[in-house]
């Protein structure tokens, strides 16, 4: 059953375009999407997903499952990096362990988007408020990561003075992608409340165009992920194993929490995907600034080159199978 889900997932346009990008690199095609075009699509996707989430959050209100789900999501993004950190410390120093742990505690918006497309394709409903969980799970892991460095590292490191609590909060909340996602969510919320006629006018841009833009971006992500593969050799097998095993562990934890929250299958999958995905936007930007001692190739190559493709191709359908097995259908 899982293998049929995997096949169904692989045969959707977003995943097919992801493969098209990957194969381009493997067969040495000179296909490239030059900067800053990936940035355009990445900004667009964050803006659109945030805006749409805001609209639906306003419709659903903050009642029912919304607050418990969102708080549990935030909690997960505090616990997961601690767990990762403990595991990573077996092989890595404090700096690298904290940076990688923060990446895996945080989320990948594009993985979330692909999971939404998967659900739509399967005809499984899900709620708009899950975008709020997405937006709020981006930052906490950064805070945990930086606190771990502050506590664990030698006090006399040259940059230690820079990691003040204010600086940590700044890096966590105000990096471009978290800020745009949260801001667009808020604008969507306000628009739905005060200006419902504007929703229809935004729809062609933030709604109709979304699926195609997602495909275009995944084409680029396929290229980028495949380009990262060679540098994975240098990261060693421990980290390679971590980049595949950790998402599965996190997904398992996520399913248990989703079950406790009695989430619908659709919401449960999105919750699980948030736990299982790792950040390659917000976290690397923050870590580069505050923990330059950590090797950026470690946290970028694993998240982009392994965890992201794994989740997109296998993870989502496998987690769906897990959800179907472990969560009794309520309604």
């Amino acid at each position: 059953m899982d293998s049929s889900l995997i096949l169904q997932n692989v045969l959707t346009p977003p995943v097919l375009f992801f493969f098209l990008g990957t194969i381009a690199v493997l067969v040495k095609s000179d296909l490239e999407i030059p900067a800053p075009l990936p940035k355009l699509f990445s900004l667009y996707l964050l803006l659109a997903i945030g805006f749409k989430g805001g609209l639906e959050l306003q419709k659903s209100g903050l009642y029912g499952q919304v607050l418990p789900t969102v708080s549990s999501a935030v909690l997960m993004s505090l616990i997961i990096p601690l767990l990762c950190f403990v595991i990573l410390r077996i092989k890595f120093d404090v700096f690298n362990s904290a940076a990688i742990a923060a990446a895996y505690g945080s989320i990948s918006a594009v993985t979330f988007i692909t999971a939404e497309s998967f659900l739509e394709n399967q005809g499984i409903p899900f709620d708009g408020f899950m975008v709020a969980a997405l937006a709020l799970m981006e930052s906490p892991a950064i805070i945990v990561g930086l606190l771990l460095v502050k506590l664990g590292a030698n006090k006399t490191r040259p940059g230690s003075s820079q990691i003040r609590l204010r600086g940590i909060l700044h890096e966590a909340m105000l990096n471009g992608s978290a800020y745009l996602l949260l801001g667009s969510l808020l604008i969507g919320f306000i628009t739905a409340a005060h200006n419902p006629s504007a929703i229809a006018k935004m729809q062609p841009f933030t709604g109709n165009l979304f699926y195609g833009a997602e495909c275009f971006f995944l084409l680029d992500m396929g290229i980028v992920a495949a380009q990262r593969l060679p540098s994975l050799k240098k990261t060693g097998s421990f980290l390679i194993g971590f980049a595949i095993a950790m998402p599965i562990i996190n997904a398992f934890l996520g399913v248990l929490v989703a079950r406790a929250l009695t989430l619908s299958p659709g919401n449960a999958l999105l919750f699980v995907v948030l736990c299982a995905s790792a950040s390659y936007l917000a976290v690397p930007a923050a870590m580069r600034m505050t923990v330059p001692e950590a090797k950026s190739s470690y946290y970028i190559s694993t998240t982009l080159g392994l965890t992201f493709p794994f989740n997109i191709v296998f993870g989502i359908p496998v987690y769906m199978g897990l959800v179907n097995k472990l969560i009794p259908i309520a309604n």
């Binding site: 900067a35 990936p38 040259p158 992608s177 980028v224 540098s231 690397p284 930007a285 950026s296």
Partner: protein, 93 residues
């Protein structure tokens, strides 16, 4: 006169420019989107959308005295965050 070439991550651009202005540099030029490799890093084009950012190349034409003033300020930044700084001779056209 001298020509100073600085290549480092664009994430530190703001602090380098502040350093330049504090030392009284009358001018400088910045090229962004520079990629490259150093002893500690590999900077590729795809880092632009991840938020890691690529490198900036800053060129400063200036008197020898400014070079002396800049050295103690720039050295710690480049040592901690990475990057290179080289000086050569240059004469105004």
């Amino acid at each position: 006169m001298k020509r100073l070439d600085l290549i480092f991550s664009e994430r530190e651009l703001q602090s380098v420019i502040i350093a330049l202005e504090k030392c009284g540099a009358t001018g400088y030029s910045v090229t962004k989107h520079v990629t490259g490799k150093g002893p500690n890093s590999l900077v590729s084009e795809d880092m632009e959308f991840t938020g890691l950012g690529t490198n900036a190349h800053v060129i400063i034409f200036c008197d020898d005295s400014l070079i002396e003033k800049l050295k103690p300020i720039l050295d710690p930044i480049l040592n901690y965050y990475g990057g290179v700084a080289y000086v050569s001779e240059a004469t105004p056209l």
